[in-house]
């Protein structure tokens, strides 16, 4: 009788342990889902702002979900290695504020605090504005004289007629060009500012920026020089 009672207790304990493990997994899954969704939204906001600054329509770029979702971490690491101390300080403060708000939200949520619902709204809004600002800031940096984008020069299959207007950024043209993106079989690039006018490049508000496109079918070789080290 006692042994049977003990076995029942043991079964109940096992079931409780299983249920609690399942609940934990469910919670972890839900948190991971929410974090992935937020990472995608912030990543998308960042890239949409960034590419819009170069005249590209982010809606037709068809960027993969997985790449967009993980890119914000990659962007933060790159910016940490290439940015000024001021921007590094701002990035650190934003990340710390995000962690602090999340911890406060968990604490308030557990204790049924009335302000718990406000914190995620502040967090989401803050991160969205942060992603937008960072995209805008990085685009300005990469369009200028301290661009971190790879340089590019093209060799065409059919060399341009000497009397015709040459496309920019051909091999040997003497121009420094930066590659913004290669997607949908097309290279998107621009001519970098001349060194002596770097100051003017950063202070011309509202000026147009010329971005050029060349399709894979037109080129024999694209010479791309990436920046290794950051």
């Amino acid at each position: 009788m006692a042994r049977e009672h003990f076995r029942k207790d043991q079964d109940a304990q096992d079931k409780a342990a299983q249920t609690s493990a399942l609940e934990l997994l469910k919670s972890l899954g839900a948190v991971a889902g929410v974090l992935t969704g937020l990472a995608f939204i912030y990543g998308w906001l960042y890239w949409a702002t960034y590419y819009t600054a170069f005249g590209l329509n982010s809606l037709v770029l068809d960027l993969p979900f997985s790449v967009v979702s993980v890119s914000l971490a990659q962007v933060l690491v790159r910016d940490w290695k290439t940015e000024t101390s001021l921007v590094k300080a701002i990035l650190t403060l934003v990340v710390l504020a995000g962690i602090a708000l999340t911890a406060l939200f968990v604490h308030w949520y557990k204790h049924r605090h009335t302000g718990a619902t406000v914190l995620p709204i502040i967090l989401v809004l803050g991160m969205s504005i942060g992603a937008w600002w960072l995209g805008f800031h990085d685009a300005g940096l990469d369009a200028g004289c301290t661009s971190r984008l790879p340089t590019v020069a093209f060799e065409l299959i059919q060399a341009p007629d000497k009397v015709d207007v040459p496309p920019p950024c051909l091999q040997g043209s003497g121009e420094t060009c930066h590659l913004v993106l290669h997607i949908n079989n097309t290279y998107r690039y621009f001519v970098a500012p001349d060194q002596e006018f770097c100051q003017a490049a950063s202070i011309s508000p509202g000026a147009g920026r010329m971005t050029y496109e060349i399709s894979d079918g037109q080129i024999r070789i694209a010479n791309i020089q990436t920046n290794i080290g950051w």
Partner: protein
């Protein structure tokens, strides 16, 4: 009736003559360009109104002759480097696939002249590199 038609034609002809000035800091502005004495003057329209922007020959990378007139941004006239005059030379490309290197280029509304000779159908001027 004839007068109004003529006025409309002249207006359309002026509107069709619009240009894009691309500078060496990779910025670009749209408007109506003239070049004389080595200085590019661009009559450009911004949200705040019309202004005449002035660019030195050393600051300009190219001038495209096209139909673009709109400038979405703010008036940059106070921030541009001061033009320093000098000669405005470069390569002039035309619609019928010819090009010509010129030491002194002058642009009036709708007309381009290379070392004193008028050149019809110009689509682009690449500044510098005249050797």
């Amino acid at each position: 009736m004839t007068t109004s038609r003529t006025a409309l034609f002249l207006l359309a002809a002026y509107a069709a003559h619009a240009d894009t000035v691309i500078t060496r800091d990779s910025s670009s502005w749209n408007g109506h360009a003239t070049v004389s004495g080595g200085v590019v003057k661009l009559n450009a329209t911004f949200r705040s109104g019309s202004v005449t922007l002035q660019f030195g020959a050393n600051y300009v990378r190219s001038i495209d002759f096209n139909s673009t007139v709109y400038n979405a941004g703010a008036d940059p006239s106070k921030l541009l480097p001061r033009p320093n005059g000098g000669s405005f030379g470069g390569t002039v490309y035309t619609q019928n696939k010819t090009n010509q290197k010129c030491q002194d280029i002058i642009v009036d509304p709708g007309h381009v002249s290379c070392d004193g000779k008028p050149i019809p159908g110009v689509i682009r001027i690449l500044v510098g590199n005249t050797q």
